[in-house]
């Protein structure tokens, strides 16, 4: 058994929480720049230029890319040969709180969702923990802004639903999101599993690099078709119109039940932020 200290887990979590919020993912930046080169509409070009400038300023001045530093969603893969003395979920939340405080990130967590009268806090995060083989811990922080999280949708389709029906639901979800969730978007899609698991897949799909083509041809084709349809909606960067409504669609699938077909859509704003570390 390899013992990993609680202090180390907390500090590393804090470190990547700051990194995720201030350094835009290189794959996202790359596609933003590519879209800028291809976009014709002057207003859309202005919007994309502002987004690229914003990423540069955030990195240089150590400012948050977006003031909505999100509800931090954390994915932990813990090796079966690792020993951690304390509760890992609590350690992650403590690390998030530490990083958010040190990095000047926003306390956006309301502990009482009904009365909404608690003082705003940095944590808890939403932490998903998987046990994997090995003696390491991999921590990934995805600060999820709620402008886009509010536009997430899950639908329980019939198992006999055609691919057209699936695609229509996904495109409609983006149309409903409109201009309010900071386009250009990155669209995470989860197909299969259960209602909750499809939602988780859709969120995990946002962690996949957006510059890499899906290895499964059937899914790569689906992603391409969806992206083409979404980019015909003319929502555009900032909602200013143009052909850049989404940068990428990422689909993840999982086996499901004979009686159902859960489909989930999780939309990310253009500031898709995540960072990982292996301890």
């Amino acid at each position: 058994m390899r013992k990993i200290s609680s202090e180390l887990i907390k500090n590393k979590t804090a470190e990547i929480a700051i990194k995720a919020n201030t350094k835009l993912r290189s794959d996202v930046l790359l596609l933003l720049k590519k879209s800028l080169a291809e976009e014709q509409s002057p207003l859309a070009r202005k919007a994309l230029t502002a987004i690229v400038d914003n990423a540069r300023i955030a990195l240089k001045q150590k400012l948050a890319i977006c003031q909505d530093t999100g509800l931090p969603v954390v994915f932990v893969e813990i090796g079966n040969n690792v020993y951690v003395q304390d509760n890992i979920n609590q350690l992650i939340s403590q690390g998030i709180a530490l990083g958010y405080k040190q990095g000047g990130l926003r306390a956006s967590i309301q502990k009482d969702p009904i009365s909404r009268e608690s003082k705003l806090a940095y944590a808890p995060s939403i932490t998903h923990t998987d046990v994997v083989k090995g003696d390491k811990i991999k921590i990934t922080v995805l600060p999820k802004g709620f402008g886009s999280e509010n536009k997430a949708q899950v639908k329980m389709l019939n198992p006999t639903a055609s691919i057209d029906v699936i695609e229509e639901f996904i495109v409609q979800a983006v149309k409903t999101a409109g201009a309010g969730a900071c386009p250009p978007y990155i669209i995470g899609v989860g197909i299969g599993g259960t209602q909750d698991y499809a939602g988780l897949l859709a969120k995990k799909a946002l962690l996949k690099p957006i510059t890499v083509k899906n290895k499964q041809k059937q899914l790569a084709d689906l992603e391409q078709r969806l992206l083409a349809k979404i980019n015909k909606l003319n929502i555009g960067a900032f909602g200013f119109g143009g052909k850049t409504t989404a940068l990428k669609v990422n689909v993840l699938t999982y086996p499901t039940h004979i009686a159902g077909l859960p489909v989930a859509v999780n939309i990310s704003c253009h500031a898709l932020r995540s960072a990982s570390i292996i301890i």
């Binding site: 207003l43 919007a47 502002a50 987004i51 400038d53 914003n54 990423a55 300023i57 955030a58 001045q61 150590k62 400012l63 948050a64 890319i65 977006c66 003031q67 909505d68 530093t69 000047g104 990130l105 926003r106 306390a107 956006s108 909404r116 003082k119 705003l120 802004g145 402008g147 509010n150 149309k175 409903t176 409109g178 201009a179 309010g180 969730a181 900071c182 909606l233 003319n234 929502i235 900032f238 909602g239 200013f240 119109g241 704003c269 253009h270 500031a271």
Partner: protein, 176 residues
């Protein structure tokens, strides 16, 4: 279409048209969900508001805290539609204009037309960039709300786009 550079008032906002760019210099008051809820409760009770909204501009924004040496943290707009249920009442009470991101409801569009107001969109998701236009930040009220408190931002050349003008014209593809 000429860019408007400078301050905004009851007179010059009437002439603004959709898609027109504005580089605004003056004061912006930040307010989002909970601050709006409180303002409307005070109006409903006939009480005096903690700041005079007459001819003021509300910016839907909850900034990150200012670190040492910074005037303000990241300070981009939040989704405006969540404030839709409060906006007509504030416009009725003399609010000049609002700034945020995304579509507004038909009720808000009608109120903007009625009270000759304007709704501006600013650079969504670009809080670090927008912080460069803020030169002073002062707490106004509702300190207990943290990031949702009302702050007065003194801004210079803050970039805006007219998203709904005083005639009720609207830049968005759809309005729901």
């Amino acid at each position: 279409m000429e860019k408007l550079i400078g301050t905004l008032n009851k007179e010059n906002i009437k002439d603004l048209v959709v898609w027109q760019e504005v580089l605004y210099t003056g004061i912006l008051y930040t307010a989002r969900d909970q601050a709006h809820k409180r303002l409307l409760e005070l109006i409903a009770k006939g009480k005096k508001l903690p700041f005079d909204i007459q001819d003021k501009i509300i910016y839907y924004c909850g900034p990150t805290p200012s670190l040492k040496g910074q005037v303000v943290g990241s300070c981009g707009p939040t989704t405006s539609s969540r404030m839709d249920k409060f906006t007509p009442r504030l416009l009725e009470n003399g609010l000049l204009a609002t700034i945020g991101k995304g579509e507004r409801s038909l009720e808000v569009i009608a109120a903007i037309k009625k009270y000759k107001s304007v709704y501006f969109s600013t650079y969504a998701g670009c809080g670090a960039l927008l912080a460069q236009y803020v030169f002073e930040k002062q707490l106004v009220c509702f300190k207990d709300l943290g990031a949702e408190a009302v702050y007065a931002f003194t801004v210079k050349d803050f970039p805006l786009i007219v998203a709904i003008d005083s005639k009720g014209d609207n830049i968005y593809v759809k309005s729901s």
